[in-house]
Subunit: 308 residues, 2 copies
C-alpha cells in the first residue's frame, strides 16, 4: 500500500506542522497506516524555534501529493490545500475551522471548535489509547500555545488548558509559560522578513459570496513595526492582488501583548469590510480593539457582511 | 437560551433515533447545553421494539426546527435533513456517512467510518468522561446491532464489537445476540406495511452528478416477501418518481440471513445503475450477491457510475 501523506494548510504555522506530526503518528499506531507527515511550505520562525527546542527535523515540503490517499490537518477547504487535492482521496481530516467539504465515501472527519488541532488530537490519542512520544507532545504543546497565544486568545476553550498541561508534562516542559513567551517572541521578529513574507506568512484565501478574499496575519509586540514599512507592504499587497486575482486583501497586524489588531485593506469590497467591523477605513487602515483571532473574530463578520 | 434540537435523518431508523438520544444527553452533560432529542418521523417497527424493550418513549416528531441551533446525527446533507435546515445554525454533527457540508463558523463535526453513529458516540462519551444511562446504552446497543446486522455487515469495523459489548453490559443485556435477532426480525415483518411504506421506510435522496437518486432499502428474511407484491411496489415507486421529481429510484431488498440483496430500479439512468453493479436488469430487477450495505456497497458504486 502506498504511503499516505499527512499535511496542513499552505503557509504552515505551528499548529499545522505539529498536528501533521501528531496525526501521522496516531494513524500509524492506532489504525496501522503507513503515513508520513509533510508540509506545504517551510516552517516560520516560531515553528522553527519549537522544532529546534524539541530537536525535531522540519517535515519534507511537497508541491503536490503523489499518493492515492491523504490526511488533512488544520484545514478542510480545497483552496487552502495541496494543488492537486482534487486528484486524491481524503482519508481523514483533523481540524478546528469552518467546514466546506464533500466526499464520495465515509471518512474520518474530526472537527471541534477548540483552540488548536493539537488539542483535538490530544483527546483523540486518549480515545484510541495511544501514548504520545515526548518530542511530539512538545510540538503539540507549542501548537496550543501558538494558536491560543498562551491560553489568552478568545479562541481558547476549557479543553485547551488541561491538554496543554498534560502535553507539557509529557514533553518535560517544566515552565510552559516561560517557554511559550520565548517561542511567541521568536515568531514576532519581523525585521528580517520582506514585505512579501509578512503578508504571505500565514495568509489564507476564502471564497465569500463569489469574491476571493485573502486574509493574512502577523503577530508582533508593536504594530508600528509593520506600519512603519507601510509603502513596502502596500506595494507587496497590490502586486499579489494583481498576480493572483484576489478581489480583496485584508492584512491583520496583531499585538499579542495587548490583544488588539490593526487591519490594512486593499482591493474591492472596502465597504463590506467596513460594515463587517463597523469601522471607517482611513487610507485602508483601521483599529480593531480586542481582535486577535482571524478564525473567530475576522472571518465570521466578513462572511456575514459579504453575504448581507 | 433557546433549547437546541438534536435529530437524525428523515425516515428514522434505529441508529438515527438512538444517536439523537445519546448526543442530546452527551451535550447536556459535557457542554451544559439545553438540548432535546426529536425525530423527523415516527419509529419503524424495529426501533419501536427497542424502545418498548428499554421502556423509552419515542421522540417528539417535528416538521421544522423552531430553534436557532440544531445538532444533526446520522446525516450531514441538507437533502436528508429537516425542511428548514437552511434557516438554522448547525452546532454539531455526529455521523458516519460521506460528507457534503459547509458552515460559516467552526463547529463540532464528528464523522468516523464506523458501523454506527452509536459507536462513534460511545467513544465520545469515554473521551468526555460521561456515564451512559442504562436505557440510552440499550438504545445505542440496538443501533449498533441494527446498522451492522449483528456485526455481520461489511460496514462493521473493529471499533463496533467492543462498543456493543460495553453498551450491552451497561444496559443489562445478558445475551445481546438473542436480543438482536429478535429485534432485527421485528423490523422485517413486512406484511403489515403498505407498498408505499416499504419503499419509503428507510429511503434517502442523493444528488449524483445532477440527478436526484432515491434509494430505499428494506430488510427481510425472504426477498419474495417483497417481490410477490411487485405490481403494488412498482406502482408506489412510479407515483413517487412523478410526484417528487426523482430521476431514478433504486429499491434495495436485503435478506439479512443470507447477506444478499435484490434491487428493483425505475426511472432514468438504468444504464448507469447496470454499470455500477455490473449487472443486467431484467424487468428492472437484479441480484446483488453479498450486498447488504447501502452506504458502503450501493452508494459508492452508483456515485462512481454517475460521475463516469
Amino acid at each position: 500500500m502506498a504511503k499516505m501523506l499527512v499535511f496542513g494548510h499552505q503557509n504552515p504555522d505551528t499548529d499545522t506542522i505539529a498536528s501533521a506530526f501528531a496525526a501521522s503518528y496516531l494513524l500509524n499506531k492506532a489504525y496501522n497506516q503507513d503515513t508520513e507527515a509533510v508540509a506545504l511550505g517551510t516552517p516560520n520562525a516560531e515553528t522553527q524555534f519549537a522544532l529546534n527546542y524539541f530537536k525535531v527535523d522540519a517535515p519534507r515540503v511537497i508541491e503536490s501529493a503523489d499518493t492515492e490517499e491523504v490526511v488533512l490537518v488544520d484545514h478542510n477547504e480545497a483552496a487552502q490545500s495541496v494543488a492537486n487535492i482534487a486528484d486524491v482521496t481524503v482519508y481523514g481530516v483533523y481540524d478546528h475551522h469552518k467546514i466546506n467539504f464533500s466526499s464520495a465515501a465515509p471518512l474520518y472527519f474530526l472537527n471541534k471548535p477548540w483552540g488548536s488541532v493539537a488539542t483535538v488530537l490530544y483527546y483523540e490519542f486518549q480515545t484510541l489509547n495511544v501514548e504520545i512520544p515526548a518530542e511530539i507532545a512538545g510540538m503539540m504543546a507549542s501548537a496550543i500555545i501558538s494558536d491560543t497565544l498562551l491560553l489568552k486568545s478568545p479562541t481558547t476553550t476549557p479543553m485547551d488548558k488541561p491538554a496543554l498541561e498534560a502535553l507539557a508534562k509529557i514533553a518535560g516542559l517544566e515552565d510552559y509559560e516561560a517557554y511559550g513567551l520565548e517561542m511567541l517572541k521568536a515568531g514576532t521578529d519581523l525585521s528580517s522578513r520582506s514585505a512579501k513574507e509578512l503578508i504571505d506568512g500565514d495568509a489564507k484565501s476564502f471564497e465569500l459570496n463569489g469574491s476571493t478574499v485573502r486574509i493574512g496575519q502577523v503577530n508582533t509586540v508593536d504594530v508600528e513595526d509593520v506600519f512603519s514599512r507601510r509603502d513596502e507592504v502596500v506595494a507587496a499587497m497590490e502586486a499579489e492582488l494583481a498576480e493572483e486575482g484576489y478581489n480583496t486583501f485584508v492584512f491583520v497586524v496583531t499585538n499579542i501583548l495587548d490583544s488588539d489588531s490593526d487591519i490594512l485593506v486593499l482591493g474591492d469590497n472596502l465597504d463590506k469590510v467596513e460594515a463587517a467591523f463597523d469601522v471607517k477605513l482611513a487610507d485602508g487602515r483601521a483599529s480593531l480593539p480586542g481582535v486577535v483571532s482571524r478564525k473567530k473574530q475576522v472571518v465570521p463578520p466578513l462572511t456575514d457582511a459579504f453575504n448581507a
